[in-house]
Amino acid sequence: MMTKTAGHGLGGFNPVSAPDYLPVPLLRDLQLARLQQIVRRAYENVGHFRKQMDARGLNPDSIKSLQDISKLPFTVKNDLRDTYPFGLFASPMGDIVRLHASSGTTGKPIVVAYTKDDVEVWTSAMMRAFAACGVGSGDIIQNAYGYGLFTGGLGAHYGGEALGATVIPISGGNTDRQIMVMKDFGVTAIACTPSYFLHLLERASELGVDFHDLRVRVGIFGAEPWSETMRRRIEEMSGIKAYDIYGLSEIVGPGVGIECSCQCGLHIFEDHFYPEIIDPVTNAPCAEGEEGELVLTTLSKQAMPMIRYRTRDITSFVEGPCACGRTLRRIKRIGRRADDMFIIRGVNVFPSQIESALLAVEGTLPHYQIVLTREKGLDQMEVQVEVTAEVFSDRIGALEALHTKLESELEHTLGIRAEVRLVEPHAIQRSEGKAKRVIDKRNLG
């Protein structure tokens, strides 16, 4: 077996990480100065924002301290839809060098814009993200995030290149080629969604390729919620270190936050993205450590400043300083998105809870899908789980025991009954980007 040696980036301090270690008072001063500038910029250039400020009797001079941010109006996803396509831009098109758009699974997509400086800020954030998980010059990054309107591909690409790493712009899909490239090019780091990485692992094993024999040592996984159990499973199965990266197009794309080598919370690059956590119902700030909705303000983005953007992501601040020495605040990994939540028989359920329950059973793999139906006015939840070689038995009794175990684990976690259906491998469609976990058939008649 080949030893997984670190690239040049690991071990020494990487100069691009310098802003991660700013003394806190300095960081707060910087944030306030940038907040005042960005509020002024938005007020003067974005009609939607000015109207909302005026309605509250606010003007750019109302921001005297960082705490004053709570006076500002929120921005929600619908604001981006209502002003489609360019209504929230604060720069003339002549200054805008890039447009991206969301996948827009429901209705119109949302469009985001970048000036040259914005691309640079984004690039520096992604450089710092890679550096935080030990990737640097000398590393070969296989970038399997989709290239195109989605921010994942280009965001990771620019960051990796600027860092001096070698970037393979393979984009998503063509799994067999991904595995060939990984092996033949001696890839040391991979960036993709966690569900796609699982698919890569599965396919590699079918092709007789053991990840432990490859040079890949780091995975940068994001764009969808995944659980801590899933991380451990991925690390065991592949021998790599799996890091969670956070980002969203509305703010910048990937690179809003990342885990460091401590893997205990994601540092937010808060010199550019100011985080708040609020109670999603009362809108009041949450106490330290209390769970709530993450709200982000872009502190330096020119083309499209986002003021108090409601991410719908549920998290909490991790208390205390991080062992890595970064002064950037940390948030807990996003296990839940308010948008992913569904209500069944009056109970709130998040797909990530189901994932954790399934993974609690030995040998199961997180290839699962949730199907919601309504029978005689009653909601039914079926959780389809693929049978793996590890859990399969030639004895009916053993499979039935597995089935019962999965159902009771789910009931224990969710507090309601869910029917488990064991399905054949590959019965659940593999995603090359974000996995589709929930199929809701309740409104189809």
């Binding site: 070689a389 030639d394 009916i396 064991l422 399905v423």
Partner: protein
């Protein structure tokens, strides 16, 4: 003498049996005998094939969950009480029969029973000492 049985996970829905059987047929692998155990949701197809190694690799590479299990084949006279003689061997032993199924070679008055024991080695020792004929792999795979 233990022989190799392939077990396959199948969902219980129409047409599920066809695909794996076609794979084996296309590869020229003969199914000697099979048994299907099923519940409302899923089934387990148990196969004895002419070339279990090739069959195993083929099905695994085609993406099936397939397991190789060692079972014991026993030849019994095809007459009333034939099975009973075998079962009596295990009556007072600690060996447990997980499941069994039967077929004939199409050879005179003999039937072959396939047993899945929790402890196949102990079972074979008991059968040998009782003078019961355990069928070898060559006989089962290459009729």
């Amino acid at each position: 003498m233990k022989i190799h049985q392939l077990s396959l996970f199948l969902e219980n829905k129409p047409g599920q049996l066809t695909a794996p059987c076609r794979e084996l047929a296309d590869a020229g692998i003969d199914i000697r005998t099979l048994s299907l155990a099923d519940t409302q949701q899923f089934g387990i197809l148990r196969l004895i094939v002419s070339d279990w190694k090739r069959g195993y690799e083929l099905l695994r590479d085609k993406g099936y969950v397939v397991k190789d299990t060692e079972v014991v084949a026993i030849e019994v006279p095809d007459r009333p009480g034939g099975l009973l003689e075998v079962l009596k061997v295990f009556e007072k032993s600690a060996v447990n029969i997980e499941y069994m199924y039967a077929f004939t070679f199409g050879r005179g008055d003999k039937a072959v029973l396939i047993f899945r024991f929790d402890d196949p080695d102990a079972a074979i020792a008991l059968l040998n000492s009782a003078g019961i004929n355990v069928v070898g792999s060559v006989e089962v795979y290459n009729r």
